[in-house]
């Protein structure tokens, strides 16, 4: 029996080999290089391979790096909340109310999703700017201009992030709503549950995985938001990605840029671990 198992294990290992090699070449090795680089120093804009903790000391003693990182996490959480709040009703309506136009709406969402982010972000600036079409239409209708904070502010950064990342939320929630066994809802109604109670007791708990997956995707992508703070935010609301860019490109401090990258990756990994722990706990309680 054991003889017949051995070749199959070998086959599994062989099948996994290309993936392992690819992961190693394009993820593990660059990550290790980034970590190694963060322990070096620079002299006259050139990396000196000296193995020191100077960069990490700077990271942990410089207040404004953490201020920007904290601001990034805060904005990402706000983006997650807004995407869930906006995405859930849309996904729910797509499954339960708009079956007839479901395909059309999904295609439109995919189109918006696939349109280049640079194009979309610059398009919003042109549209919302003081002399843009938005104010033109408002003035034409006899209404006042948009307030100044509509563009080049924290609000506009958040708007841009939500606009870009909303489809991730909608599609993951849509899948979980669509997979709900409708008999469970009928059973709830048969037991005398109101529509709200059935939604709260049946639909919402069964969508939890979709909500969590969407939230995780949106959070991780939000942490790397670059265009929105830079273009829609007018550069005065820097987030982690811009801090890393400035450090690599303008200051040419590659060890520091690498260390900041590791910090952002660590935040991402911790979040993923926490989220899976939360999901596991939920599953455990269910069992």
């Amino acid at each position: 029996m054991s003889h017949s198992l051995e070749p199959s294990r070998l086959m599994v290992a062989l099948h996994a080999l290309p993936s392992v090699l690819l992961q190693s070449a394009f993820f593990v090795v660059p990550l290790c290089m980034t970590i190694a680089l963060s322990f070096q120093e620079t002299q006259y804009y050139q990396v000196q391979w000296v193995w020191s903790l100077t960069t990490w000391t700077e990271i942990f003693t410089t207040y404004y790096y953490w201020k920007i990182l904290f601001n990034t996490v805060l904005m990402s959480l706000a983006c997650v909340g807004l995407c869930a709040m906006i995405g859930f009703p849309i996904a729910y309506a797509l499954v339960t109310r708009f079956q007839k136009w479901q395909a059309t709406i999904k295609i439109l969402l995919v189109f918006a999703f696939l349109t280049d982010a640079v194009l979309k972000t610059f398009g919003w600036v042109v549209f919302l700017d003081q002399t843009g079409p938005a104010n033109f239409v408002l003035n034409f209708l006899g209404l006042p201009d948009l307030p100044d904070w509509v563009i080049y502010s924290r609000v506009s950064v958040l708007f841009g992030m939500v606009y870009t990342l909303l489809p991730f939320s909608i599609f993951t929630i849509y899948l979980s709503v669509d997979m709900i066994d409708k008999n469970l809802l009928r059973a709830a109604y048969d037991c005398g549950a109101s529509k709200f109670r059935a939604f709260y007791e049946v639909t919402l708990p069964l969508c939890k995985n979709g909500l969590m997956a969407g939230a995780l995707l949106v959070f991780v992508l939000s942490l790397g938001s670059f265009l929105e703070p830079k273009v829609l935010g007018g550069g005065k609301n820097p987030m982690a990605a811009e801090l890393i860019r400035q450090t690599f490109e303008t200051r040419i401090n590659w060890p520091l840029g690498s260390a900041l990258t590791i910090v952002v990756i660590s935040i991402t990994v911790i979040t993923i671990l926490l989220a899976s722990r939360l999901l596991d706990l939920g599953q455990g309680r269910k069992k």
Binding site: Y44, Y45, Q46, V47, Y64, K67, I68, F122, V125, V126, D129, Q130, T131, D148, Y152, R154, K230, V231, G234, G235, K236, N237, P238, L243, Q246, T247, F248, E249, T250, R251, I252, W254
Partner: protein, 390 residues
């Protein structure tokens, strides 16, 4: 339409002949696809040092690859040039310093980054005497020893294009007299009407000069603190920081900003060339310091080029009258040449695009941009104040 006719029509329109015919057969399409794939693969693999004579790898800003500049050089020297266009000077330098210098022969970039190639030991120093014929054609301000391109008494490169950093204004929405001093950038009546270019040291240096501090000497903590205060006040009064040229130009045109800080002719000349003569780059009059910055692009030979004579020939070529003329009147940005012979080629309209009649005022009120000893500290201050701006 046949391929020949199609190409003739392109030639009449001033465009280069098409490789692809408009009525392709299947073989032609497959050939084209194969060629595209090979080109893409070659591009992805990078330039590689051009060891064989007849080829050159050139890292430069857009504009230096203009066919009017490249084609005559390639024909005369029987070489083909592979270009690597840089999008920011520090990034280009970082690429060279990280080992990329082995792949390139010539570089054209901002002068502080050419100057830095000296101590980084990634350039071939040039002998000014060998280029005396080139210097003879230059304006007196660019004669050797030309300090912005000197390291340890040695010359790192030749200046190829220059311009100035000062308030960029739209004369239809802003009174030029208001910008005879940087005070207007801090005036509360201009709050949220100031745009700042997020372009490395360009916005920092004029603000240091405004603070009465010469940023090109070693600075003490008190002076750094003073510059910090000025930057903080500037951020507080500003509407936005722009990295993108087109968005900043749009803001200037539509009046949503009254001025752009941290740029000058680099941003205004493209608009002037497009017919917007109301857009100008001015230089404030001095307090105890001159208030404007004169920036330069320079061309240098990268360490151990494949063919040093060819690299030197390229340096001569980009500064000669015809090439310099093309280089100074780029669609994207137009800026003067150090070669005074080029001036004779300009029409009145082109002189106006370049604001050549304003040049004497610029030299009177500006300092030459070069490596600032405390630039790393200043960039940290910039980053820190930006993080605290909101």
């Amino acid at each position: 339409m046949t391929m020949d006719k199609f190409n003739q029509s392109r030639k009449r329109a001033g465009r280069s002949p098409a490789v692809w015919a408009p009525d392709p057969n299947r073989r032609a399409v497959l050939k084209g696809m194969a060629a595209t794939a090979m080109t893409a693969t070659a591009g992805a693999l990078g330039p590689g040092k051009a060891r064989a004579a007849g080829s050159m790898n050139y890292m430069c800003w857009e504009g230096y690859n203009d066919p009017r500049i490249v084609d005559p050089f390639e024909e005369t020297n029987d070489v083909s040039i592979n270009f690597d266009l840089i999008v920011d000077s520090p990034g280009g330098f970082a690429k060279l310093a990280a080992g990329g210098h082995r792949d390139f022969d010539v570089v054209s970039t901002d002068s502080p980054w050419v100057q830095r190639m000296g101590p980084a030991n990634i350039c071939e120093f040039i002998d000014p005497a060998e280029f005396q014929d080139v210097y003879d054609k230059f304006y007196p301000q660019f004669q050797p020893p030309f300090e912005p391109l000197q390291f340890d008494g040695k010359t790192t490169g030749l200046p190829t294009r220059w311009g100035w950093v000062g308030p960029c204004i739209n004369t239809e929405t802003s009174d030029p007299d208001e910008w005879k001093t940087w005070d207007a950038a801090f005036d509360s009546k201009n709050k949220d009407k100031i745009g700042i270019m997020d372009w490395g040291d360009w916005p920092i240096m004029p603000m240091a000069l405004y603070a009465g501090i010469d940023p090109y000497k070693e600075l003490d903590q008190a002076e750094l603190d003073e510059i910090r205060k000025v930057l903080r006040a500037l951020f507080a009064n500003s509407r936005a920081l722009f990295s993108d040229l087109s968005l900043s130009q749009k803001a200037l045109l539509d009046g949503s900003v009254k001025t752009l800080v941290g740029t000058g002719t680099y941003s205004t000349s493209g608009l002037r060339k497009a017919g917007y003569e109301n857009i100008v780059a001015v230089v404030p009059e001095g307090n105890e310091n001159k208030q404007g910055i004169i920036w330069l692009e320079a061309t240098a030979i990268v360490k151990t080029p494949a063919d040093i004579d060819l690299a030197k020939a390229m340096m001569r070529h980009v500064t000669n009258k015809e090439a310099a003329y093309a280089l100074t009147l780029n669609d994207f940005t137009s800026n003067p040449s150090p070669n005074r012979a080029v001036e004779a080629l300009y029409t009145e309209e082109e002189r106006s695009v370049l604001q050549l009649d304003y040049v004497d005022t610029v030299w009177e009120n500006s300092v030459l941009h070069k490596v600032a000893p405390n630039i790393d500290d200043l960039l940290v201050i910039w980053q820190e104040e930006l993080a605290n701006a909101n």
